[in-house]
């Protein structure tokens, strides 16, 4: 205990309507590699943002003790001055600048007020050697691979005399070789006395590298496991992450499942820019009338990409595979055709992809089905108003009027607007991508009821979610996806969190 480099004591952080962190305590020993595990949305990233000053002192309660002193960081610069450096999942590098420039960005080596390029490149080369990056310091970031970019980030951290290095999902975008190299580097840095915190979903990596693992669930610290002494297995971590108690947060389900309504065969898609990268790998699945089917997978597993490529090829290139509705094959290469064939997709990111936030509720609800309101080439605004008002009633959208601006509604009510919009196109199959993300518990329950109601009407529902309890609570059948492939399929009766988490973390060619 006495040798702790960092202690975060009783950290509580709330956002309007949500408690993101609830009395979290984290103790990191000097010179260890400390893993933080938890499901998406458990509060890992929020905790790191509190630590690094992204959420400044005063916006949370509790104490941060770094090297014996209580710290009050107002921004990232403050925490970096103390040697705390965070490397985010989306790398913060400037693609057209050189490696050396990126390493010293914001921290330039100057002589008489001008940048000393010789020393910059020389120092950069030294740092690059420390992280094992064999490139010219003058090469542009965009011309090296993601794995090497990750190393540049670490070199940049070293240039700031880092004491505590925080890596958020560092290997999520890396191939096996780069991942192995990165982990080796972390061990190497540990020997040099640098403490690391690593946030990862890849449990085999954690098992291999971490000295201590802290598990966070629903914004609370569940436990801290000493990996070596306690012989912690992956199963043990999974049990901590998903928890054993399932409260009654889901409505009762009495499904009436009919014939198959949608079948997908050998669906494959590649990354839109990096056209050799396989994102959706030969997925086959089906949905029946009245059935709620879940797609489980960690972030980046390809769930959203699969759904969007299916929905009128709105993601990806070189898409292949077959889709059948009621046993008849159809092709939908545009969103318009997909809608015409009875598909609807409600996005995971309603602010970016779902809603026109500066427009009113009414026009958002009618946008995908505007033709319904058109007579003699003109939209009947009054009928539109009437329909939208009906949805406001039936979906319980809490807005003063359907003429209210959508951006002013709460997350849960915005989500209901998105659902109304897609229900109004009267689809046969509704794909709901993270339908309860960023929504408080009460609104979640309402959304689950709506989903059940739609299934009871004989629609096929596909729910994509990062929250396992949610999938287990509402779905009749669940597919697990990892690295773009379906790695398992379980029925409601067979499904357990452990089983799904095992499928979800399955890696190619290893199991």
């Amino acid at each position: 205990m006495s040798n702790a480099i960092l202690e975060m004591r009783n950290i509580t952080k709330t956002f309007p309507g949500v408690i993101a962190l609830d009395d979290v305590t984290l103790v990191v020993e000097r010179g260890e590699i400390h893993a933080i595990c938890g499901e998406n949305g458990a509060g890992k990233s929020t905790l790191m943002k509190v630590l690094s000053g992204v959420y400044p002192f005063g916006s949370y309660s509790g104490d941060i003790v770094f090297e014996t002193d209580v710290k009050k960081y107002g921004n990232i610069r403050d925490s970096e001055e103390d040697g705390i450096v965070i490397i985010h999942q989306e790398l913060a590098l400037s693609p057209h600048l050189s490696i050396a420039e990126n390493i010293f960005l914001g921290n330039e080596i100057k002589r008489f007020g001008l940048i000393d390029w010789n020393r910059t490149n020389q120092e950069a080369a030294k740092l690059m050697a420390r992280v094992g990056l064999q490139e010219e310091p003058t090469i542009a970031i965009k011309d090296i691979g993601v794995g090497k970019q990750q190393l540049v980030e670490i070199a940049k951290a070293l240039s700031k005399r880092v004491k505590l290095l925080i890596l958020d999902e560092p290997t999520a975008a890396l191939n096996d070789e780069d991942s192995a190299h990165l982990l080796e580097l972390l061990r190497h840095l540990k020997d040099q006395g640098i403490t690391s915190i690593i946030i990862s979903h890849k449990l085999n990596e954690i098992e291999a590298i971490a000295d201590t693992t802290t598990i966070i669930r629903d914004g609370k610290t569940i436990e801290s496991l000493h990996m070596k002494q306690e012989q912690v297995s992956q199963e043990r971590i999974i049990r901590g992450m998903v928890g054993r108690d399932m409260e009654n947060r889901y409505p009762d389900r009495h499904p009436e499942i009919g014939d198959e309504i949608l079948r997908v065969e050998n669906w494959t898609a590649y990354h839109p820019l990096d056209t050799h990268r396989l994102i959706v790998d030969n997925i086959s699945m089906n949905v029946k009338r009245g059935e709620i089917v879940g797609l489980a997978g960690i972030m980046g597993a390809g769930r959203t990409e699969f759904a969007r490529s299916l929905f009128g090829h709105s993601y990806g290139t070189k898409i292949s595979g077959r889709v059948y509705k009621n046993g008849k094959e159809f092709k939908a290469k545009t969103v318009k055709e997909a809608i015409a064939n009875g598909l609807a997709y409600a996005t995971e990111d309603r602010k970016r992809f779902g809603l026109n936030l500066i427009e009113d509720v009414k026009r958002n609800i009618s946008l995908a089905s505007l033709k319904e309101f058109v007579r003699f080439g003109l939209v009947n605004g009054n009928e539109e108003f009437k329909k939208a008002s009906q949805y406001r009633e039936s979906m319980n959208i809490k807005a003063p009027s359907v003429l209210s601006v959508t951006g002013q509604l709460s997350g849960g009510n915005q989500q209901k607007v998105v659902l109304s919009k897609w229900i109004n196109v009267n689809p046969d199959v509704l794909i709901l991508d993270e339908p309860t993300r960023g929504i408080d518990v009460g609104a979640k329950y309402e959304i689950y009821l709506i989903i059940q109601r739609l299934a009871a009407e004989g629609k096929g529902i596909i729910v994509i979610s990062s929250e396992l309890p949610e999938l287990l609570g509402i779905c009749d059948r669940i597919y697990a996806i990892a690295e773009g492939r379906i790695t398992g399929e379980v029925t409601r009766q067979e499904a357990t969190p452990q089983k799904l988490m095992t499928y979800m973390t399955m890696e190619k060619g290893k199991n």
């Binding site: 929905f311 709105s314 970016r352 809603l355 427009e359 946008l367 009437k386 003429l403």
Partner: protein
Amino acid sequence: MTSLSTQSKSFMDSIRARLQGVNLRQNGIFLALIGLVIFFAMTTPSAASLTPTNFSNLVVQNGYILVLAIGMVMVIIAGHIDLSVGSVAAFIGAVAGILAVRPLEQDGWEWLPALPWWGAILGAIVVGGIVGMWQGFWVAYVGIPAFIVTLAGMLLFRGMALLTLQNTNIGPFPDEFRAIGNGFLDKEKGLNATFGFPEEYNLTALVVTLLAVVAVWLAALRQRSGKIKYGQVVEPRVWFYLKNTILTLMVAYVGFQLSQANGIPFTLILLVFLVVIYTTVMNRTPFGRYIYAVGGNLNAAVLSGINVRMVNFWLFVNMGALAALSGVLITARMNSAVPKAGDGFELDAISSVFIGGAAVQGGVGTVTGSIVGGMIQGVLGNGMNLNSVGIDIQMTIKGLVLLLAVAFDVWSKRRK
């Protein structure tokens, strides 16, 4: 003390309640326009700004900018910009010159007979549409930002105007062609003669004005009753009647003034027609709705099944056709197709749109707002001319007006 403050609070609340449903921004610039007119009425020597002829001049001198502003606001709502409209107007003026006049001294066009005036106008607008297709193709299907495409277009079509005119002017134009820029409805007061109406007032102008007033009231009442029938919140009754009374009084006043000059300019009739059509397009057709959707959130529009490329393409075709109409108007008014025509019009049109409340990020704006924005600039320029303010001061003031109008917008949004 306490009772007083509660009383005044409840009074403020009642005012606030009464103002519910009143669009302050839209009404605000309208009031600014009225304020400006009153200001110049008081400051110009012997109230020259209020003379019948000046009203007439205001309309015909700003008509071609206002036509451009209509197309421009649509482009800006979708999140684009069009810098080429001035050059396109010049190019189309040249095309109209070739079509209507066919200057004999120029080589290469002998095969083309001079078209009747309506054929020339129609042909000019078709060529404008083709110009729009060209720009729309690059923006919508190749994916080059409109700023770049139309910046290139600005040079390209100025060059084409020079090429077409071979560095000379074409003119004069036939009288019918000129009428669209310079003509008046029943200028000879034929209707007065028929009914033996006093010669001081153009009877046709008075009749048309009366019809317009009736039309405004009918449309407003019909819209209001439709909304009430569907249980929608409407503007407070007092405000509704007050607003439309003021509006129709202004229409009547302008019509009355025009009847003492040469009558109603054809340009004004054309403008009213365009405003009605395009307001309908923007508010009540799927195409208009899609423009707002694309500008408001492009990704959401794509995922809602909107063919964004198609929307962008037709947006520029429409802009091209309106720029062509603007080119016809200015050529008709000058009675000559000149290579320098329309210089800087794009900036006036863009200013009109932003003064009229459109947002730089797209998704926001109205046709009527842009027209009022254009009128504010027109009245400002006209009033300063009558007050013999030099061009130096005029430009300074116009620049500040644009900046302050948008700053007010940003400020009022931030307060929310």
